[in-house]
């Protein structure tokens, strides 16, 4: 059970992904600059990553909102949060003074960089925990998954029965 917890996780993650995705998507060149500002990727990859990232964010956000392939989307979210946290921590460690551009804005200098890095990392780790819940309990209220697929528990029961019979 605890399907309402999963619904809440989906709602929060979807809201974050969709707002971040819309802001990034609306400023394509700015998102490419924000990606470049981290100085982690070779220049040949920077534009492609800058163009792909907002698309992934929008699609993952939409799927989480609908509850479609929830577990896979939660895994993707968790992976991206780990990457983002690494990127921000790395920029901080190298003494770069940039904004993360997490919600658009092109990686511009901010007045006080260090507290910004801490805030961004804490937010991403919080979102990582929400996605971890969904990886563990992907079945949630009001989801397309529960329309498309039989409840997972019944599968698990059947698997256990089968294991018992075969054993």
């Amino acid at each position: 059970m605890k399907q309402w917890v999963g619904l809440l996780c989906r709602a929060v993650l979807a809201a974050v992904w969709l707002s971040a995705g819309v802001l990034k998507f609306s400023d394509a060149a700015g998102t490419v600059r924000a990606t470049r500002a981290f100085r982690l990727l070779p220049e040949s990859l920077v534009p492609a990553v800058g163009h792909l990232l907002p698309v992934l964010e929008l699609v993952i956000g939409a799927c989480l909102l609908l509850g479609l392939l929830t577990r896979a989307m939660a895994v993707a979210t968790a992976l991206l949060m780990v990457l983002f946290t690494f990127g921000i921590a790395s920029a901080w460690a190298r003494g770069l003074e940039i904004q993360c551009g997490c919600f658009g804005g092109g990686g511009n200098v901010k007045i006080d960089a260090t507290p910004g890095y801490i805030r961004d990392i804490l937010r991403d780790l919080g979102l990582l925990m929400l996605s971890a819940w969904l990886v563990w309990r992907p079945r949630t209220w009001l989801s397309l998954d529960s329309l498309l697929f039989r409840p997972l528990e019944r599968f698990e029961d059947v698997d256990e029965e089968q294991a018992a019979v075969q054993g």
């Binding site: 060149a29 492609a48 698309v55 003074e97 940039i98 092109g106 990686g107 200098v109 089968q162």
Partner: protein
């Protein structure tokens, strides 16, 4: 019927039931695999289309057909005597409020130092703050400045540049219209006839778009960014950078 055969038929029934259940499970699994496959295929298609849309929407970095004259670098103009002992390099956006503060506290002294041959200034005007303007002021102002530089030279450009920072619109509001920009250009010493058309037609729009791309590739991530004799000033402390500039041009 013997008890033995009764037991046998019971076992057979159980086996049949189990086989049926397995068959049902197999079908269900096959169906699930197909549903997941179809959904994944649809998602991949949507990602591909949106990625293509986003790549074609981003026109920054494309070759500019119209490039202003009187530049000294691809995207910069150096003002001052080449023999001047100090060099200042500036990245500024006409819509950037901290740039306006920086200009307010330094431009009079910097202009005097340029005129006296104590300093030369490499101006990198860039445009990335259109999202902070109700009428794309950042890019229109830079186009107008490029037109002034092209038609009237660096000295008039510098006056126009100072004038625009003195009359900077607040973030999120509508900035001066093209007609107002033309009036500022004339006030700075440009010819109305020469600047009107190219300002209204936004002739340098691609060059203007590319300035932000170039800034980013130069490793500069915001404005104002100030270098004194090649030394980058702390980008998070514009007042200190202004103070350092005032000391350098003294």
């Amino acid at each position: 019927m013997s008890t033995k055969s009764k037991q046998q038929s019971k076992a057979e029934r159980a086996a049949r039931a189990q086989a049926l259940m397995r068959e049902q499970q197999r079908r269900e699994r096959n169906r699930n695999v197909m549903v997941v496959g179809a959904v994944v295929a649809a998602i991949v298609l949507i990602v591909g289309v949106l990625f293509y849309v986003q790549s074609t929407r981003d026109r920054s970095g494309l070759a500019a057909t119209e490039v202003p004259g009187n530049l000294t670098g691809d995207y910069s103009v150096t003002i001052g005597q080449s023999s001047a002992p100090r060099t200042i390099k500036l990245y500024e956006d006409f819509q950037c409020p901290i740039c306006a503060e920086f200009e307010a506290s330094t431009s009079a002294q910097v202009d005097a130092a340029i005129a006296a041959g104590r300093v030369k200034v490499e101006y990198h005007l860039v445009s990335f703050l259109d999202p902070r303007s109700a009428n794309a002021y950042s890019s229109r102002a830079l186009n107008a400045a490029a037109v002034v530089l092209d038609t009237s030279g660096p000295q008039v450009f510098l006056k126009f540049h100072n004038l625009l920072f003195q009359h900077q619109p607040a973030e999120g509001t509508a900035g001066p219209t093209d007609a107002q920009l033309i009036a500022y250009a004339v006030q700075s010493g440009a010819s109305r006839q020469a600047v009107s058309g190219p300002i209204t037609d936004n002739v340098y729009h691609q060059w203007v778009l590319n300035t932000a791309d170039r800034m980013s590739k130069d490793g500069v991530n915001g404005t104002p960014t100030v270098y004194i004799d090649g030394q980058e000033q702390d980008p998070t402390d514009a007042p200190a950078a202004a103070q350092a500039v005032l000391t350098a041009v003294r």
